[in-house]
Amino acid sequence: MTTTARPGAARARPAINLHVLGPIVALLVLVIAGALMNPNFLSYANVTNVLARSAFIGIIAVGMTFVITAGGLDLSVGSMAAFIAGLMILVMNALVPSLGAGATTILAGMGVALLCGLLAGWINGILVTRMRIEAFIVTLGTMGIYRSLVTWVADGGTLSLDFALRDAYGPVYYGGLLGVSWPILVFLLVAILGEIAMRKTAFGRYCAAIGSNDRVARYSSVDVNRVRLLTYVGLGLLVGIATIMYVPRLGSASAATGVLWELEAIAAVIIGGTMLRGGFGRVWGTVVGVLILSLIGNLLNLTDWVSPYLNGAIQGVIIVLAVILQREQRPEG
């Protein structure tokens, strides 16, 4: 590729916009490397596995994109997912004797998950906006609270879904429509709605405005607190949706559920090109970021060329590389 030969503008602008293409290039490199290393990599089963397991983090990361774009952060999502999963299992198990192991019970469980997600997100949002506490501290606190609560309700062990319910609920993770499994479809739908909300709606523009300068946004008559609160509530709701897809997979929740999901979600958002300090967000980039993260794990399992002890190191290198690729455009930082 050659640079455009217009004087003046040419110096700062190569023809390939790496800031936009960086994550996609990284994703393509991983896909090609995977296809070369193992013939099963592009098989239907493997692609379905990778996409379906990305769905939990992916759904959460879409919500996280809005929170970060508006200059916030949420560290509590992993613990929140574990706690909601635990509550969902408790409620559904308790409803089996009265409602039976069928659709009614499962719908009630889903309702509980969505409601808890909304409420948990609202609590985070209120503490950040009304109480004016740093988002990092608020969500660090709620992270510890939800993690302890799930350990407590599980009595230190594992909460397991009733076996009859497991069969009825299983299709929500394992089943699908026209060969595409439900978690993938839900992830896709959430991603598309998120992309539209970020690009085409006033809400998306308000998030970016608040993230880049909340004072200016306030003077421009943006209801800063309301928009910020909505980003946390939206994220909580998406955590609820992710949990609805997660519980049918193994039918259990324990203190080990959702550990480090918050960091994976934040990493995916940043790899995708959203700025950690806020002001600019890109939902499709987040989706690419999530796929990059789960492809790395998948590739390391499918190949033998690196000691399993080094998996974390490889992941770290690729994350940093993916972000370096998009730095070219902003030499001023």
């Binding site: 193992n38 099963n40 990599f41 098989s43 089963a45 493997n46 596995n49 397991r53 350990t151 599980a154 009595d155 230190g156 062990g157 594992t158 397991s160 394992y174 997979r249 193994l250 259990s252 324990s254 203190a255 080990a256 559920t257 550990v259 794990g297 998948n298 399992n301 499918l302 033998d304 399993p308 002890y309 998996n311």
Partner: protein, 314 residues
């Protein structure tokens, strides 16, 4: 920090003789928090043992603390010495290295030390050592694998969190299957976690068209592996061998589930053994110093009833 430590030591020296005079003896129990299934079971058995012993021996008092990381555990132990003047400490170290120094400092004050499961890095600190048999855990698993696949076969293995425990188990396993015709296609870390094991197993199933059996090495990981096999609809996998004796898995073995033909124990109740022995040492003249290694046993449908604890969370 140093000043606080010296203060704690001085307090303990004062508290020691006082505690002895009113004849109530205090046993401190410091264990990791219930962050995974096995640790959850261990917490349950520790609490059960403490409750039983407080009833049985009115002259004994117990302090139980759970820690979520090694630093917190060190603080717990310092607090126990400083504020409760413990006469004995039962400790399941989170990690060996960081706990060795602090536990040695407690031992130097004349407190009875019982170390459980994970040994300290320096020998001779503890009075009593109670532990499971990790090389034995691997060996029994490997021997079962060799016996269940008499004409050999291809297996995959899920490993735990990278630790000495995991290494010893894997070494014992590899030794036991050597020369049996069993080929280990791959080993990956599932970190004793259901979700990780599910993901790793999915990828193993994509990678290898023929897998005869799975050594999941832990029942939480066995749950994840079983779900992945079921999802893939693969009939080539004959069975999954877990371990540690989770009650749901023991129950399935007892019911003759062909996918879970056996289990290998690594009882979380070993913490109860340690607390009981420490208490007996304090209240009686029975000698309890030394090493007590709890064997890893093979659970089969015939003897599964002996290993089923319905009240335990694990």
């Amino acid at each position: 920090m140093k000043r606080i430590l010296t203060g704690a030591a001085a307090l303990a020296l004062l508290a020691g003789p006082l505690a002895a005079q009113d004849e109530t003896q205090v046993i401190g129990v410091s264990i990791p928090a219930a962050t995974h299934g096995w640790a959850g079971g261990m917490n349950y058995f520790a609490q059960a043992a403490v409750e039983r012993l407080e009833e049985a021996y009115p002259q004994l008092d117990f302090v139980l603390a759970t820690a979520s990381d090694p630093a917190k555990q060190v603080s717990d132990i310092e607090d126990m010495v400083a504020t409760r003047g413990i006469d004995a400490l039962v400790v399941l170290p989170f990690e060996s290295e960081p706990l060795t120094g602090p536990v040695k400092a407690v031992a130097d004050q004349g407190v009875w030390i019982t170390v459980v499961d994970r040994g300290l890095s320096q020998p001779g600190i503890e009075d009593l050592y109670v532990a499971g048999d990790n090389p034995g855990f691997g060996r029994v698993s490997g021997e079962f694998m060799a016996q269940a696949l008499p004409e050999g076969g291809q297996i995959v293995a899920l490993r735990g969190i990278p630790t000495t425990i995991d290494n010893e188990r894997v070494a014992g396993f590899e030794e036991a299957i050597a020369g049996s015709g069993i080929e280990v296609l791959a080993m990956e870390h599932g970190n004793w976690n259901r979700d990780n094991a599910f993901t790793v197993m999915q990828d193993f199933l994509s990678k290898y068209p023929q897998i005869d059996a799975v050594w999941a090495s832990d029942d939480d990981m066995a749950v994840g592996a079983l779900a992945a096999i079921e999802q893939a609809g693969r009939s080539d996998v004959k069975f999954v061998l877990g371990g540690a004796g989770m009650k749901e898995m023991i129950q399935r073995t007892q019911e003759g589930d062909p996918m879970i033909p056996a289990n290998v124990t690594y009882p979380p109740a070993m913490i109860a053994t340690a607390i009981e022995m420490t208490a007996v040492g304090l209240v009686s003249d029975a000698p309890v110093a030394g090493r007590f290694i709890i064997g890893s046993e093979l659970v089969t449908p015939e003897n599964a009833a002996n290993y089923y604890y319905p009240d335990s969370p694990f």
